[in-house]
C-alpha cells in the first residue's frame, strides 16, 4: 500500500516562498502527473517527497507513515531524473544492481532482479556497456530499470523525457505507460509537457506559482477547467481566451463585436459583469468542417476573415480575425483557403467557457 498524503506542504528559501502549503491525496497505484510552467514548484514538490529537499512546513505521509525528516533511503521510493543520473564509472549491470549492493542483497537475488528488470526494459544486450556507450533512449531505459530493481512503493519521475527527441519521447511515453501497468506502483510524474500529462496520468495536478490550480482526470481538466490558467495551459493549440462584458444576454468584446451568451452560464452572470470568454480550437471551425458536440441551436454562425492557415495534412489550423485578434480554429477534412478570404465559421457555444476576469475562476456552477 502506498497512498501519499501531502498536508499544507510548504517550501521557502529564506523569505521566498516556492510551494505555498499544498494539500494532495494520492491513491495507491495511482499515476499522478504534476504539470505547470517553469518555476511553478512542481519539481520542488517532487524533491520534497523524495527527501532531497527539506520541507519548511506541513507534512508528507507515504503509506501511512509520516516521512518528513527521513532520509531518501528510508522512504522506499525510487526516482528517475531528467538528466538520467547514471553512474558513469559503472556498467549498466552495476548501475541496475547498485541499490541492491548497497542494501547488501545476496548475489543470486541481485542477479535475478537485475535480469528481471533488464528483460522488462529490453536491456539484456547492453548489460556490460557503460552509460557513455548508450544512446539517449537507452540511458533513459537504464534509469528506469534502476528504479524498478528497487521494487519501491512509489516511483518519482522528474521530467524524464525532456532530453529525448520528439519521436523517441512518444515511444518512451508508451513504455512508461506499459511499465506502470506491469509494476503497479504509485507514480508521481513531473512534466511541463501537458501532452505527456494527459496521455499518462490517471489524475493531473496543475500547479502555478506554488499553488495547485486544479486536480482532476485528464478529461475533467480538459473539459471543465477550474480556472482561466488551466484553460490556457491544457490543450494544444491553446484555448482562445478573450475578455468581454456581459450585456443583456450577449457578450460584448472590446471591438464592439458581439456573441450570444452561452446558455449554460446565463444563470451565473448579470449585465455589466466582466468575463473571459474561452473557446477551444475544436469548437470553432469553418462551417461543415468540424464536429459540434451540443445541440444545433447552440452553434453560432458568423462570417470572419482568414489571416493565416497552417496545414497539418489531416487538418488545418485556421486563424481568423475576431475582436481585432487572431482566433485559432481547427478545420477537419480541410480544403484550400487563402488569407484574406471570408469564410462562414461555426462557434459551438455549448462548449464555451466563461471565467471571472478578476479571480480567473470558472463561472460554471
Amino acid at each position: 500500500m502506498a497512498t501519499i498524503t501531502l498536508t499544507k506542504l510548504t517550501k521557502r528559501y529564506g523569505n521566498i516562498g516556492i510551494v505555498h502549503g499544498i494539500d494532495l491525496d494520492i491513491a495507491d497505484r495511482e499515476f499522478i502527473a504534476l504539470v505547470g510552467p517553469s518555476g511553478c514548484g512542481k519539481s520542488t514538490t517532487l524533491r520534497m517527497i523524495a527527501g532531497l529537499e527539506e520541507i519548511s512546513a506541513g507534512s508528507i505521509d507515504i503509506g501511512g507513515r509520516v516521512v518528513n525528516d527521513l532520509p531518501p533511503r528510508s522512504r522506499n521510493i525510487s526516482m528517475v531524473f531528467q538528466s538520467y543520473a547514471l553512474y558513469p564509472h559503472m556498467t549498466v549491470r552495476e548501475n541496475l544492481g547498485f541499490s541492491l549492493k548497497i542494501a547488501g542483497a545476496a548475489k543470486e537475488d541481485m542477479e535475478r532482479r537485475v535480469a528481471e528488470a533488464s528483460t522488462i526494459l529490453g536491456l539484456d544486450a547492453l548489460l556490460d556497456r557503460r552509460p557513455s556507450q548508450l544512446s539517449g533512449g537507452q540511458r533513459q531505459r537504464v534509469a528506469m530499470g534502476r528504479a524498478i530493481v528497487r521494487d519501491p512503493d512509489v516511483f518519482l519521475f522528474d521530467e524524464p523525457l525532456s532530453n529525448l527527441d520528439a519521436k523517441l519521447r512518444t515511444q518512451m511515453r508508451t513504455e512508461i505507460k506499459k511499465l506502470h501497468a506491469k509494476v503497479q506502483s504509485t507514480v508521481i510524474y513531473v512534466t511541463h509537457d501537458q501532452v505527456e500529462a494527459m496521455t499518462l496520468a490517471d489524475r493531473i495536478v496543475i500547479m502555478r506559482d506554488g499553488h495547485i490550480e486544479q486536480v482532476g482526470t485528464p478529461d475533467e481538466v480538459f473539459r471543465r477547467p477550474a480556472t482561466r490558467f488551466v484553460a490556457g495551459f491544457i490543450g494544444s493549440p491553446p484555448m482562445n481566451l478573450h475578455e468581454a462584458t456581459v450585456d443583456d444576454g450577449k457578450l460584448v468584446f472590446a471591438s464592439g463585436e458581439k456573441l450570444p451568451l452561452p446558455g449554460q452560464f446565463k444563470a451565473n452572470v448579470a449585465t455589466g459583469d466582466r468575463v473571459v470568454f474561452g473557446l477551444r480550437p475544436d469548437d470553432i471551425y469553418p462551417t461543415g468542417h468540424g464536429i459540434s458536440s451540443g445541440a444545433a441551436a447552440e452553434v453560432h454562425q458568423i462570417e470572419l476573415p482568414i489571416t493565416v492557415t497552417e496545414p497539418l495534412g489531416n487538418e488545418t489550423l485556421v486563424f481568423v480575425e475576431f475582436n481585432r485578434q487572431d482566433w485559432v480554429s481547427r478545420m477537419l477534412n480541410p480544403r484550400p483557403l487563402r488569407p484574406g478570404e471570408r469564410v462562414a465559421m461555426s462557434l459551438d457555444m455549448s462548449q464555451a467557457h466563461l471565467f471571472a476576469t478578476e479571480t480567473g475562476k470558472t463561472l460554471r456552477s
Binding site: A50, G51, L52, P71, P72, R73, I77, S78, M79, F81, Q82, S83, Y84, A85, L86, Y87, P88, H89, F98, S99, I102, A103, R130, P131, S132, Q133, L134, G136, R139, R146, R150, N163
Partner: protein, 288 residues
C-alpha cells in the same frame, strides 16, 4: 590555381608552421633538463667550456659513483636526504589532499555563510611569497622547538599546499553532477556512502592531479627547506644540492648528478599517475 587548392595549400603550410612552433616550444622546455643530464656525465672542463660543447667527448658515471661513496670521498648523505624528502613530501601531500578534499567538497556542494570570502581568503594566501615567511617561521619554529625536524617542514608544506588543493579539488567536484549523489542517496546510500561510492571515484583523476601538484611542490621546494632544516636528519634533496658548494668552488657535475637523482622519482610518479588522469570519465552520466 582555384580557390580550393589554394585553401588546401594554406592549410598545409599552417600545419607545418604549427609543428615547427611546437618543436621550438618543446625544445625550450626540455633543453635545461637534457643539459643537466649531459652535464652530470661529462668532465667539468666541458661543462665550463666556451663556446659550449654540445656533444660530450667522453661519458663517465664518476659523479654518481662519488655521490654514494661516503663522506670524505666526494660523497654526500644522499640516502638520508632522499628518505627525508620522501617522508616529508608524501606525508604533507596526504594531509594536504585530505584537507583539500574535505574543503573542496564543501565549497563545491554546500551553501554556507561567508563562503566566497573564505574562498577568497584562502586564495589570497597564495599571493604571499613563501620566502617572505621564512624568517618569521624560523623564529617561531626555534621557540616551539620544531626547527630542523620532519614535523616542522611537513607543517609548513601542508599550509603551503592546502589552498591550492582546495581550489583544484573544488573544481573537480563541481564537474561531478549533483544528480549523481542524489540518485545514490535514493538508491539507499547515506551521504557518506554516496560520496565514497559515486562522487569520489568520479573526482578521482582530479584528486590525483592535485596530489601530484602538491607532491612536486614539496619535492622541489628549496627556499623554506633551506631555512628550516640544518642537519642530515632533516635536510631534503634540494637543500642537499648545497653540499656541492665549497668556499671557492662549485662541483657542477656532482650537483647535476644529484639533480638527476631528484628528477627520476618525480618523473616516474608523474608518469604512473598520468595514465589514470583519463579525461571525460563523467561523460554519459547525464544527458549528452
Amino acid at each position: 590555381m582555384d580557390e580550393n587548392s589554394s585553401a588546401r595549400l594554406k592549410r598545409r603550410l599552417l600545419g607545418i608552421i604549427y609543428r615547427i612552433g611546437l618543436f621550438l616550444a618543446m625544445l625550450t622546455i626540455c633543453l635545461p633538463g637534457l643539459w643537466i643530464v649531459l652535464s652530470s656525465l661529462r668532465p667539468a672542463v666541458e661543462i665550463m667550456a666556451k663556446p659550449p660543447v654540445w656533444i660530450p667527448q667522453e661519458i663517465s658515471f664518476d659523479a654518481y659513483i662519488a655521490m654514494f661513496s661516503g663522506i670524505g670521498k666526494g660523497g654526500i648523505p644522499v640516502i638520508e636526504y632522499f628518505r627525508n624528502s620522501l617522508i616529508i613530501s608524501v606525508t604533507s601531500t596526504v594531509i594536504a589532499v585530505a584537507i583539500g578534499m574535505a574543503g573542496g567538497y564543501a565549497f563545491a556542494r554546500y551553501r554556507f555563510h561567508g563562503k566566497s570570502s573564505v574562498f577568497l581568503g584562502l586564495m589570497l594566501t597564495r599571493t604571499v611569497p613563501g620566502i617572505a615567511l621564512s624568517l618569521p617561521l624560523f623564529f617561531l619554529y626555534v621557540r616551539l622547538g620544531i626547527i630542523d625536524t620532519h614535523f616542522g617542514l611537513i607543517l609548513a608544506y601542508v599550509a603551503l599546499n592546502v589552498p591550492f588543493t582546495i581550489w583544484l579539488i573544488d573544481g573537480f567536484f563541481r564537474q561531478v553532477p549533483k544528480d549523481l549523489a542524489e540518485a545514490a542517496q535514493i538508491d539507499g546510500c547515506t551521504r557518506w556512502q554516496a560520496f565514497w561510492q559515486v562522487e569520489f571515484p568520479l573526482a578521482g583523476p582530479g584528486i590525483a592531479s592535485a596530489a601530484i601538484f602538491a607532491f612536486l611542490t614539496c619535492w622541489n621546494e628549496f627556499a623554506l627547506a633551506s631555512q628550516l632544516t640544518r642537519s642530515v636528519s632533516a635536510k631534503t634533496l634540494p637543500v642537499g644540492l648545497l653540499d656541492y658548494t665549497a668556499e671557492f668552488t662549485i662541483d657542477w657535475r656532482g650537483m647535476c648528478a644529484l639533480a638527476v637523482v631528484m628528477i627520476i622519482p618525480a618523473l616516474t610518479l608523474t608518469y604512473i599517475v598520468q595514465k589514470h588522469l583519463v579525461g571525460g570519465l563523467t561523460s554519459g552520466a547525464v544527458k549528452g
